[in-house]
């Protein structure tokens, strides 16, 4: 074996590269945004996991973080944002409102964003603590790694 050469499988290499360079699009609508800021800033530092680079254009993002209550009125916007993202793409439902509607079991609120777009990871909590968010992010990284080269 040549010195300085590492052999691997393409699947593993691509998955490894993808999971540590997450460009996230924060779709922040409500109070969970505070906890998202907390997880993203220096104290908890989501950048340690390679996901510290928020893109504010969906065309440059590969993880859609849906943070906060989604109403029926904004749901078409959310789907448009999702459709604008290039593949491969993943969706995180951040907080209980995005997972199920939470206690907003009413006429105005989408009862879980998975009624509108596919979701890869659900992070429960009202709001979730930053540790929960980071654990969720690691789980998402496992999922991305396992997905490998598939688009």
């Amino acid at each position: 074996m040549l010195p300085g050469v590492l052999t691997t499988r393409l699947d593993a290499a691509v998955g490894w590269a993808r999971k540590y360079s997450i460009f996230q699009y924060p779709f922040v609508t409500a109070c969970c945004g505070m906890e998202f800021m907390s997880a993203a800033c220096g104290h908890y530092d989501i950048d340690r996991f390679g996901a510290g680079f928020p893109r504010f254009s969906p065309r440059q993002a590969d993880v859609l973080m849906v943070v906060g209550t989604v109403s029926h009125k904004i749901a078409p916007v959310l789907r448009r944002i999702y459709e604008q993202m290039p593949r491969p793409k993943w969706v995180v439902a951040f907080g209980v409102c995005t997972c199920t509607g939470g206690f907003y079991d009413n006429y105005a609120t989408v009862q879980g964003i998975d009624t509108v777009i596919p979701v890869d990871l659900y992070i429960p909590g009202c709001p979730p603590r930053p540790e929960t968010v980071l654990q969720g992010l690691v789980m998402l990284q496992h999922k991305i790694q396992a997905q490998g080269y598939r688009p």
Binding site: N106, Y107, A108, V110, Q111, D114, T115, H142
Partner: protein
Amino acid sequence: MIDAKALLDALRERIGLGVIAVSGSGLDVVLTVEQASARGALELLKAEGFNVLADMTCVDYLGYGADARPVPPSHPHRIPRWPSAPRPPQRFKLVYRLLQLDAADGLLGGRLTLDAWVRDLKGQRSVRDLWPNADWLEREVWDMFGVGFSDRPDIKRILMYEEFEGHPLRKDYPIGKRQPLIGREEAPAQPAPTDPRPLG
């Protein structure tokens, strides 16, 4: 301080017997008037120095009071009742909350609540010309309660989307009714997670 007696006298002179009741005193007065007299009363209050419309809203009294109107048997949800309360004269009540603020020193002269029982669902006159913020408040009252205004025939919803049918804060809006613009009404049953890979 509001001189409730003087105010009441001025109101009676202006709108006659349209004043149903007055209560409270000093800083906090509640007036109840006939719907037809509400506009005249509000004009007079504006002239009396009530220069801020702090809020305007509506209350639905369906199912409220001793001999409340029966709820249609087809109604899917039970409406709670308060049988000990006196029966309200109408189903809807419009509530105007006014403040008397001194523009020079910012001191509060008094608070006044004007209640108007809604006899005609589209009969209320708009007060946009008196307090411009009434524009959005009236749109909200229309959106949530379906109480319209006689001089705003083309009033638009303010919070809900245009495709929404009905008025969600009415007591007879079915509590479980959902009107999604896109997507399904409820989430599908989730399959069990397939990747129980341990963390770390």
